[in-house]
Amino acid sequence: MSAGRKVVLVDYGVGNLLSVSRALAACGGEVEQTGDPARVAAADRLVLPGVGAFGDCMAELERRGLGEPVRRFAGTGRPMLGICVGMQILFETGEEFGSHAGLGLLPGAVGAIPPVAADGTRRKIPHIGWNALRPAPAGRGWAGSILEDVAPGESVYFVHSFSARPGDDGDRLAEADHDGFAVTAAVGRGNLFGCQFHPEKSGPVGLRILSRFLAC
């Protein structure tokens, strides 16, 4: 357990940092936005945002010397939250515009949401909008996770075309249905959390999720 509600938001030139920062502040977080590897390594808790392509995000993180500090941070047991592509890069590989290595903190890969459903109908891509969270069948449950204060069926805001396929089904906390495809909505293992949706854009439900993370 970390003291206070201090949180470091990793600034690597990617993602809507202002919105994430304002949302964390609205939840009582003392936000430090930084791209300094030493500050990242010394954080009490870490939020890793991300927008755009998997490979671009990883390249930018490594270019700024932040890949190793983030990996090391994850190993300390202090709480960490990846948002959107920041969640996707927690995995081993991303298959967006070629194959790219991720941070490898969770087993599994990130692939495109299939554009055609099993019944042959076309699925709208990107998956944009408010969609309901449901517990993943083999997940470890929401108690003790960032979703502790969320009720199944509550909706959050998604915007993405790729979805994680965790190598260990137990890491899948929540999923959301997109025309018959179960999108990986949130993941969690120990101190490590990720949400594919944007909690900072998910109204009061999103703020509850961020508040819970700040209390981890």
């Binding site: 304002r22 609205a26 709208k124 909008g129 805001y157 998604f158 915007v159 025309d179 703020l207």
Partner: protein, 253 residues
């Protein structure tokens, strides 16, 4: 499938929230911040800001409004009007916008759609189409907030925009806009049938049954509303209840 999105559209001129009819004859409604905050508290799913005269004066004055909005409104914000370069997009995204809506600059230089989508992701590239009926089943795309003809077929332009990398289409019926007489369902249907991207229908919302028609028969993924919300003709709660009663899935905040 995600829920049907209920979007508040705020047309802006200088510091003011405005509203017109057919995108013309605008009246000042009030302070955009106060309205944005009220819609958030009532459970709006998303906000769209459009700078109504930006193209005309080659400017974009929305950055400050967006910056304030990001302080206490935690739903997605789309900003349009006068966005004409990657720098403009970056500035807006840095101010707290999640997506940009581009109309005039995209018609003038379609490559911009691809550039924005490559650099910032297709999810933040909303192609805004202002469509005016020119015959049965035919609509022309207009620019500069419904002022200038382009000769471009609106449905064809939507199809092309999807290929260029747009992530969403905002289609505004210039004929219906501000009339409160209902959406141009045929136009929306023509576009949702032509492409696989999410489509936001805008222009004409006056009663809950209009929303039901454009989402049901028109296939819209999202509905933008202005007049009915600005003048409190309908409450979001009552709109949501009517949508639910008609079998549409909407978020219950």
């Amino acid at each position: 499938m995600p829920n049907l999105r209920l979007i508040a559209r705020l047309d802006i001129k200088g510091p003011n929230l405005i509203k017109g009819v057919n995108l013309e004859g605008v009246r000042v409604v009030g302070d955009p911040q106060a309205h944005a905050r009220r819609y958030y508290e009532e459970g709006i799913d998303e906000l769209v800001y459009i700078d109504a005269v930006a193209s005309l004066y080659n400017r974009n004055s929305l950055t400050e409004i967006v910056r304030y909005t990001a302080e206490n409104v935690f739903v997605p914000v789309t900003v349009g009007g006068g966005v004409r370069s990657l720098d403009d997009v970056e500035k807006l995204l840095r101010s707290g916008a999640d997506k940009v809506a581009i109309n005039t600059a995209a018609i003038r230089r379609p490559g911009l759609v691809t550039e924005v989508s490559r650099r910032f992701g297709s999810q933040c590239m909303v192609l805004s189409i202002e469509a005016k009926r020119v015959g049965p089943g035919r609509w022309e795309a207009y620019t500069d907030n419904g002022r200038e003809k382009t000769g471009v077929d609106a449905v064809e332009w939507a199809r092309r925009g999807a290929g260029l990398g747009a992530g969403e289409i905002l289609v505004t019926s210039v004929d219906q806009e501000g009339t409160r007489k209902g959406f141009d369902v045929t136009l929306v249907k023509a576009i949702t049938s032509a492409i696989d991207l999410p489509v936001i229908a805008s222009g004409g919302m006056g009663a809950p049954e209009h929303l039901v028609a454009v989402a049901g028969d028109g296939g819209a993924d999202a509905v933008a509303m202005a007049d009915v919300l600005h003048y409190k003709r309908l409450g979001l709660g009552e709109i949501r209840a009517a949508a639910r009663a008609a079998g549409l899935r909407v978020r219950m905040p």
